[in-house]
Symmetry: C2
Subunit: 209 residues, 2 copies
DNA sequence: AGCTCCATGTAAGTCGTTACATGATTCA
DNA sequence: TGAATCATGTAACGACTTACATGGAGCT
């Protein structure tokens, strides 16, 4: 359950209302673990019931909002989760399932799939890269709060781990783009020389940027 | 819904019982879309209710088994699905979520995470490569049935698309391994020179194998 | 007065996981 | 006769999606 622990981590930067938390979530965790606001509110209530966060009702004009803060139990759970080695979930990739059965479609349909795949991951890659820029400039509200709450000696590591994660996502996106492009080449070869194609292997990620 | 369509594709190779289908599934689709047998039986019943497959009760000693075959509607649905361009599902990666928060753990804990990540994807990579070998040798029972049911001119494409998909998975696994290794280097730099680290970018997948 | 943002949820449904359940056949 | 394999499910639960629902606050 990454949602639960990501919320604990966000709350470690200081007390926050559900709404603020959801907005911060959208700008950070959402890149690697998307969730709707409704799910966040639900999870916060569950965390509260589990004693990992505590909520305080804060007046807001005539209405009220709820400010959540991390409890000692929540903090312990966060650290337990970070230390715990978890198996990655199994691969579950619709695009690869479908690619396995492209023979049921026309070459043109296969091309469209690969082009859409490439376009999607190009957009993702750009999104990740913009986020890396923000992180490196320490230019997000959440990161500033987080750094302010942490000892200066830890600042580099806090930023570095996040940047490393997003660099990894960029590399993944590039692998997808490369796969789609080789897919397009394969479709061309199959369509033009249906009896004499060769499938070149995908090279290892080696060399400089 | 990839499960549904993968089952339709498996059935295109000819009538099969649920059990056989589940076994074939384990040796093929399961690489990219895992499912329990119980889920496959449930989905087959649902496909039957939707008119996409038809079942025939076959005697087996005193008991019976059900042999499923693709209907015209099922075939049409399979082709519709292949032609349909679908957005890839959003990234949802526990390992990357956690890596974003490695500052909550010790360097040693971070190392263990990265090592487990590397080991996992090395095993996956080897699994995929073994499957590619099988495909290239046309050495799986299912592939042989599938090829036997298809015109000879289509054989190359049938194999080539599958090989391409698994090559892509190998490339993904390699990207994960590379990410984990750079993660290990990062932990070392942070632990040894906490104030003077540099995060090298991950190079593009360029160059020869 | 109306729009945007703030703020918090409920409800229904889908998909998938985990555990449980049962019994026949085949082969050593 | 006992184990492995064949064969087919049900039940409960959890996570997430989609849609719906409501109302205050702040600004123009």
């Amino acid at each position: 359950m990454s949602l639960r622990h990501a919320l604990l981590a966000l709350l470690d930067a200081g007390p926050t209302t559900g709404y603020e938390l959801a907005k911060q979530f959208d700008q950070t965790v959402d890149y690697v673990w998307p969730a709707q606001h409704s799910q966040i509110y639900t999870e916060l209530r569950r965390l509260e019931a589990a004693g990992m966060v505590a909520a305080e009702t804060v007046p807001r004009g005539l209405a009220t909002k709820r400010a959540y803060r991390l409890t000692a139990e929540g903090d312990a759970e966060l650290r337990r989760w970070v230390a715990e080695v978890a198996e990655p979930p199994p691969v579950r990739e619709p695009a690869y399932v479908k690619a396995t059965y492209f023979e049921y479609g026309t070459p043109q349909q296969a091309r469209e799939q690969f082009r859409a795949h490439r376009a999607h991951y190009e957009a993702q890659r750009d999104r990740y890269e913009r986020h890396i820029d923000q992180l490196e400039r320490r230019d997000t509200a959440l990161l500033r709060r987080r750094l302010a709450a942490a000892p200066a000696a830890a600042h580099d590591a806090i930023v570095a781990y996040k940047v490393h994660a997003y660099r990894g996502l960029v590399a993944r996106a590039r692998a997808e783009i490369s796969w789609a492009e080789r897919g397009l080449e394969l479709v061309d070869r199959l369509a033009e020389h249906p009896a004499a194609y060769v499938i070149p292997d995908i090279p290892e990620p080696e060399g400089e940027r």
